[in-house]
């Protein structure tokens, strides 16, 4: 197929119906069932929403449909014909394309809009070996005008806004004659106005006969675009609605049964003094005027969807980011936390979200990872590390956090996710925490280790305040004494543990309630 043909054909409305049907789709990683027998149907002229909490299996499903995995269980058919999706090109040839949440991975930043538009043709050599940039730009311009997109073709992609990048990827999909378009959390980082524009575009794509799978956690998007809804929960299909139901029904379907015995029950909360207070904290458009305080002895939870600003808030408190506005008080005094080193000196410690990237040095031993922040404690004259003292401390810590295997000389990369997290938690025990910041502390951790981690967290609260960020609502209610719900960088609701209701929290987090 040549470029010209494609562009010409896309301009016409599709005259046939296409149906993509997935039946019994399953995918397991090790022992974990990420997706378990899910059926889904996407058809021309319909927008099918796929919703679910973090870890419900949404992205696994998307990855199957886009040929990311070379193996999965279940069957995918298009118009009744079974197809194989083992490679990205399989999906591409079947007319399935995706606009990723992180749309940047689909574009080449230092090439122009025109070049990115014809990237596939450039890569396969369909465009011929010698390029006429001007011709390419002219064609791109004509094409974009024909589908009614206003993007200037000579701009480099790195200078586009997120919304414009999404437009470009959608335009490119249309150029490829896309039949099934998957939009992955498209409004997660868009402004209100941009979201409205996107909804309009989605509606017009629908009219053109494109089948759309619309993935989102933001339920307030749904009334704008959606015809049918599938709810995933823990890798299974929890509900299907053939038209948009009451949003509260969706919220109910999203909620998991809490595993109650995971959380420490006998913890007695004795609230101490306020150790950290935050006033009007702001950073870019991710954190907008946050104010709250945390007291010694309590576990304060920040919950909300991914992208609500939880991680950024913790990083601001830890000095890993610098606030644009706002003040932070520790023990009633204003402090400027310029960097993590200073934060640690103030007694503010953080367990970051991505432990392999941000917390651990993977090719160093558990011992070295445990003792890293407080090496001074283990040093003699000339700052020589006292290995026996260090090892003794590392072993004690490993025992305290119940590290498995109990081998501090093993490299961090060879421990399981849960035990890696115990190493990171254990690291901070050597210090004297005032405020312990935990970002998604049980992400990618098995149930057994989860329970241990919750008990560890509960055990440090007699010394300090814990601020824990999580998008898992059961975790928020299970471990938190007080729960702040964040949405778009703002606190939209606060609950005490006694009257925290998962449905309420999720309604606030997803924007069903404002």
């Amino acid at each position: 197929m040549r470029r010209g043909e494609r562009a010409g054909r896309t301009a016409l409305p599709l005259l046939f119906m296409s149906v993509l049907r997935g039946e019994g789709l399953s995918k397991r990683f090790g022992g974990v069932e990420a997706l378990n027998g899910v059926d889904i149907e996407i058809r021309s002229g319909s927008v099918h929403a796929l919703v679910g909490a973090n870890g419900a299996g949404k992205s696994t499903l998307v990855k199957i449909l886009t040929g990311y995995y070379d193996s999965y269980e279940g069957q995918v058919t298009i118009d009744g014909q079974p197809i194989q999706l083992r490679r990205p090109t399989d999906a591409f040839r079947s007319g399935i394309e995706v606009v990723h949440q992180e749309v940047d991975i689909q574009l080449v930043p230092n090439l122009t809009v025109a070049e990115n538009l014809y990237l596939e043709a450039l890569a396969t050599g369909d465009s011929g070996t010698v390029l006429s940039l001007r011709k390419l730009e002219r064609e791109a311009k004509t094409y974009l005008e024909s589908i009614g997109f206003s993007l200037s073709v000579r701009v480099k992609v790195q200078d586009l806004s997120l919304h414009e990048k999404q437009l470009l990827v959608i335009a490119r999909a249309l150029l490829h004659n896309v039949r099934f378009l998957i939009l992955d959390e498209p409004t997660a980082s868009l402004s209100f106005l941009e979201s409205q524009k996107l909804f309009q575009l989605v509606r017009s794509l629908k009219q053109k006969g494109v089948a759309i799978l619309y993935i989102t956690q933001r339920l307030d998007d749904l009334p704008n675009v959606v015809d049918e809804v599938t709810v995933l929960r823990s890798g299974k299909k929890a509900a299907y609605f053939n038209r948009l139901p009451e949003l509260t029904k969706i919220v109910e379907a999203m909620l998991d049964m809490p595993e109650i015995d995971l959380f420490p029950k006998d913890r007695r909360v004795s609230l101490g003094e306020t150790v950290m207070k935050v006033e009007n904290l702001s950073w870019r458009n991710k954190v907008r005027g946050l104010s709250f305080e945390a007291r010694r002895g309590e576990i304060l939870v920040l919950t909300g969807l991914t992208g609500a600003g939880k991680t950024e808030t913790l990083k601001l408190l830890f000095g890993a980011l610098q606030p644009d506005k706002g003040r932070i008080f520790i023990d009633g005094k204003v402090v400027e936390i310029k960097n993590p080193t200073l934060a640690i000196r103030h007694g503010v410690y953080m367990v970051p979200e991505e432990r392999r990237k941000e917390a651990l040095i993977l090719d160093k031993t558990a011992r070295e990872n445990i003792t890293m922040p407080f090496m001074k404690n283990f040093c003699g004259p000339f700052q020589k590390v006292d290995r026996s003292l260090e090892t003794k401390y590392a072993v004690e810590t490993a025992k305290r956090v119940a590290l498995v295997p109990l081998d501090v000389e093993k490299q961090a990369q060879y421990f399981s996710g849960g035990n890696q997290q115990k190493i990171v938690l254990g690291r901070w025990l050597a210090g004297n925490p005032k405020v312990l910041l935990l970002d998604e502390p049980t992400q990618g951790v098995d149930v057994g280790a989860k329970k241990e981690i919750y008990h560890l967290i509960a055990s440090v609260t007699n010394k300090c305040a814990v601020i824990l960020a999580t998008s898992d609502i059961n975790e928020a209610i299970g471990i938190g004494d007080r729960i702040l719900v964040m949405r778009d960088g703002k606190i939209v609701a606060e609950f005490a543990k006694e009257n925290a209701d998962p449905k309420e929290i999720l309604s606030y987090a997803t924007g069903v309630k404002a």
């Binding site: 934060a343 990237k357 890293m372 700052q383």
Partner: protein
């Protein structure tokens, strides 16, 4: 069981590959050349690699923090020209000349870290920029002339003959011997300086908390930062140390040749980088380390010394050096992959 044997072989290759090759080389050269296996030649080889080792240790520091310092060659050259010019043209006492060089080295290190940390230029690009800058400065000092006793003063309009000279105290650094006995020529001073540098660095990097922090930064910069290690400060220090060792190497070099030759430091850059990477393979540490770097430099030295004694033409020696480096790294990293 079969795979067990294979694993053991590859483990052995990984750990002792370079050392084994080194021993084989020594035995080979001893058998084929008469002068090779003598104490004097042993120290000759060490002396020949001493300057290279000192410069390489500097590069090792920059590689430990996950960067690379490509300016070391011209920094060494700067020290050669600056020290000799100060003594010969301006008749500055030798110790002030040395101090001036160390200060100049520190400045270059600061400049590198400013470019890399403040302006966020990638390490290699920034230090290549400094390489040219410093190379230009080094030639400017004497207006491109070589510096030697009795030269005409390039800065004097009437080009009078300079009165300064390089004193004995300075020449000892590169040419002296200690522990001389009637039967024994003595240990060359540069060898002692080199060993001191390697020992201190080894202690510093392996046994102190600072060394731990340096390696942590090289292992995972973001994790190190979020564990409270002041990453920027450490990286700045690493680049300063790198420049300082290059300067020290340059001073010893100036003393060794006893005059100021323009661009004398240049060839050290590539050899220093090569020694540092050789060091990865030594003992299978797979990370930059001072003893590895030292052995890497010795390896290069032994090879060149032996090849010269075998009358291998100089223009072929580089080809052999390249082949050996490529295969050492190839073995080390190929095995690494397999183990993973």
């Amino acid at each position: 069981m079969k795979s067990g044997v294979r694993d053991q072989v590859s483990n052995f290759l990984l750990k002792y590959g370079v050392i084994t090759t080194l021993v084989i080389l020594i035995v080979f050269f001893s058998l084929t050349t008469r002068a090779f296996f003598t104490l004097d030649n042993f120290f000759d080889i060490l002396r020949a690699v001493s300057i290279l080792t000192i410069v390489s240790i500097g590069v090792t520091f920059s590689v430990v923090v996950g960067g690379i310092d490509a300016s070391v060659g011209s920094v060494a050259g700067l020290a050669v020209m600056l020290s000799t010019a100060l003594m010969v043209i301006w008749q500055v006492p030798w110790y002030w000349a040395i101090i001036a060089c160390l200060m100049a080295g520190t400045m270059v290190g600061l400049l590198n870290s400013f470019l890399i940390l403040k302006l966020r230029i990638p390490d290699l690009l920034a230090t290549v920029g400094t390489l040219y800058l410093v190379q230009g400065l080094q030639m400017w000092i004497s207006k491109g002339d070589a510096v030697y006793r009795g030269m005409t003063n390039p800065w004097d309009p009437i080009r009078s003959v300079t009165k300064g000279f390089i004193p004995r105290q300075f020449l000892v650094l590169g040419q002296g011997f200690v522990f001389r006995t009637p039967q024994f020529r003595g240990i060359p001073v540069p060898v002692l300086i080199m060993l001191a540098v390697v020992f201190t660095t080894w202690f510093f990097l392996e046994f102190t908390r600072f060394g731990r922090a340096f390696y942590a930064i090289g292992g995972n910069m973001e994790a190190a930062r979020l564990a409270g290690i002041p990453v920027k400060r450490y990286r700045t220090v690493a680049y300063i140390i790198s420049s300082l060792f290059a300067t020290l190497g340059g001073i010893v070099l100036a003393s060794r040749i006893g005059s100021g030759a323009v661009k004398a430091g240049d060839p050290y850059l590539l050899d220093a980088v090569a020694s540092t990477y050789f060091g990865f393979a030594v003992l299978g540490m797979r990370r930059p380390n001072p003893w590895g770097t030292f052995l890497g430099a010795v390896f290069v030295g032994v090879m060149l010394n032996g090849l010269t004694m075998l009358n291998v033409p100089w223009y072929i020696q580089d080809v052999i050096k390249g082949l050996v480096l490529v295969s050492a790294l190839g073995i080390s990293f190929a095995i690494k992959k397999e183990i993973r």
